[in-house]
Amino acid sequence: MNTTAVSLPPDPEITPAVIAKHGITPDEYALIQKILGRKPNFTELGIFSVMWSEHCSYKNSKPELKKFPTTGPTVLVKAGEENAGVIDVGDGWAIAFKMESHNHPSAIEPFQGAATGVGGIIRDIFTMGARPVFNLNSLRFGSITGDSASAKTNRRLFSGVVAGIAHYGNCIGIPTIGGEVYFDDSYEGNPLVNVLCLGVLKHEEIARGAAKGIGNPVFYVGAETGRDGLAGAAFASRELTEESKQDRPAVQVGDPFKEKLLLEACLELLTTDAVAGIQDMGAAGLTCSTCETASRGNTGVEIDLEKVPKREVGMTPYEIMLSESQERMLIIVEKGKEDIVRRIFEKWDLPYAEVGTVKDDGMMRVKVGEVTVAEIPARQLADEAPIYHRETQAKPAPAPLCEIPKTDVSLALGKLLADPSIASKEWVYRQYDHMVRDGTMVLPGSDAAVFIVREANKILASTSDCNAIYCLLDPREGARLAVAEAARNLACSGAIPLAVTDNLNFGNPHKPENFWQLRECVEGIAEGCAAFNTPVTGGNVSLYNENPAGAIDPTPTIAMVGIIKDESHVTTSSFKNAGDTVILLGELGDEMGGSHYLKVLFGRKEGIPPRINFERERALHNTLRGLIGRGLLASAHDCAEGGLAVTLAESCFCGTQTIGAEIDFGTTGLAPEVLLFNESQTRVVVSAKPEDAEAVLVFAHEKGIPARRIGTVGGAQLGLKADGAETRWNVADLQSTWRGSIAACMA
């Protein structure tokens, strides 16, 4: 720690250029002057620039986010109220969960960028008083196949990001139990790294991030402040260009060990009555945590920067306030209980310091000793950033496909299974400790991850989904499809959906087409969440995801959490026993628009993506849960990218094992590539003991769900028969293609 006074260089003069460099518009600057009743000094300008960045203020997206359903009987803490939403799961227990992006930091430094993303979201969860129990991750990269320079770069980014997530999650001891990874040229140079953390707590343990109690001391705990990540929030709110890679802020380095100590110390402290309010220091560090706690508490906060533990000598107030050093928290302590904080933080060998006091004047006041270096009304700074209603410009609706190109379906299945977006993600999740905490009932690789929270005796299921091709072609329908797929993945696992968190990844919102995509997707998500009764508990917006070729495909990642009522309901996607009957719930389908068949085999992202009918989708999910509840299903796997053929092949794979299946669709009248690879929705392949098959069909028909016997599990081959033609594959070969594809790219 360093507190020696050093004379600091004078602040730069505030010129229009300096203002512009901070991403503040002339109108915004005028507003700042109005709020202050004077000109801001350099430190204050910096503070405004981070708090009013898109990353912290959602100034471009807030009006859109209001469209999400956020209430419901289970919602204990609403989206936006605190660091993460909280949902009741029964018996006095609750869960807090949220997703966060670290796209731009990961583009610059994949390992540390991804690692600190994980660290940040974990802090958001334990700030709520919840013990983190698992993580998910949703990743997007440019293509990793081939020898091109860009493929090499993409592989470096991919392997760095995965290693960074593994490093942080494994060390801190939170299992990463699921996620998704897609590869597409649109993410070239701008990968997406979205991470989710979920924690559990009792209702009465919910902690609040408000500076309550005039006169209460304000404590800083955790790592010392350094010059790292200076103004990262502002950085995330700009496009990445070649220059910005040059003027990159000093990259943050994560210390998962320190965070583990911080997590344990904070949870221990929260069991005492010493805490009046608690808030993590994420983006915009000290700035954000002080003004937000003051704003929430309807109070003021005064801090003295001389007391802040520092890692480097000669840091200016500007640097201290804008630093994004990791693994730090701000705690408002009940006066007279300071010793409890000291005792616990000394036990865990963590730095701590009393840095300030809660005041009654609504100001965020920053001092260096006796000198005031910033003084800003907290509410206006934290909650009253200007809001923009951006212009939208609809993209033309996609043209229907006029012809479906043909290929040898026998080769096509192998090519689809080898496509890194469809291939097994074992190379990824093998690097994640997905078993620590001893509760992972369904390991990564099935439709949803399933985790038993032993202390609460609750079984949770969780998945993240988003097919960005669909969103590119039709953003509204694509977003609806993402929500439906998430709900379907949960239903296949035997779970009832509870709530959603989302991560909206889009391009520059100043471009009307991008903003239109954002709006359409938000409205699509809202419709989907209403249909499945899943309030949105929070999320994250990441705009300015662009590369020189343009914006990324719109990627509204949906993560959904559900609950499984009974251990016996836990269901996985792979076939279990030879002789079981294979049944298709839903139609054969025929929609080829936006399919992976077109993308992988012909390089085309075209057509009208599949349509979704929520009523039918819901009926299917209820039917699935009914069948599972009656103990009638051996497996259930939803139909997604690659259609029925990929779904059936994946059902034949189980970890390192395989089992074959003989499938006969009878007379369909469909071209083979349409039958096998169409991506129509609302379809699930299930298997059941032969003696249960009839009951499955009867139950489904009673519920109005189309259901047909399509074959039998067994043998070492996958045989697909239809309209008099038959194609056969050796399942072991298909599996080795599917399992080995990413590893082969990365070797």
Binding site: I108, E109, G226, R227, D228, A250, F257
Partner: protein, 82 residues
């Protein structure tokens, strides 16, 4: 030809490893240690057959910057040891 590449974390970048080791040394009864920074060292051996030393050194610099270090958070030094 032999070369030695040293890669150190940049001064402004947090070095959690170094901090942990410093603390361990201090509790080991040697608190006079003020700071520790930890980096990597790589001893590289080259095949001399047909090697142009000048060109090889230039090539090594490239590899240091591209592959062996991450210029965002690390600095490298290259010593040619003949």
């Amino acid at each position: 030809m032999k070369a030695r590449v040293t890669v150190m974390p940049k001064k402004s970048v947090l070095d959690p490893q170094g901090v942990a080791v410093r603390n361990a040394i201090a509790t080991h009864g040697f608190p006079q240690v003020k700071s520790v920074r930890i980096g990597k060292v790589m001893e590289i051996e080259l095949d001399d057959a047909g090697l142009d030393a000048k060109a090889a050194e230039a090539r090594l610099h490239e590899i240091c910057a591209d592959l062996l270090s991450n210029p965002v958070i690390e600095d490298y030094t290259l010593e040619i040891q003949g």
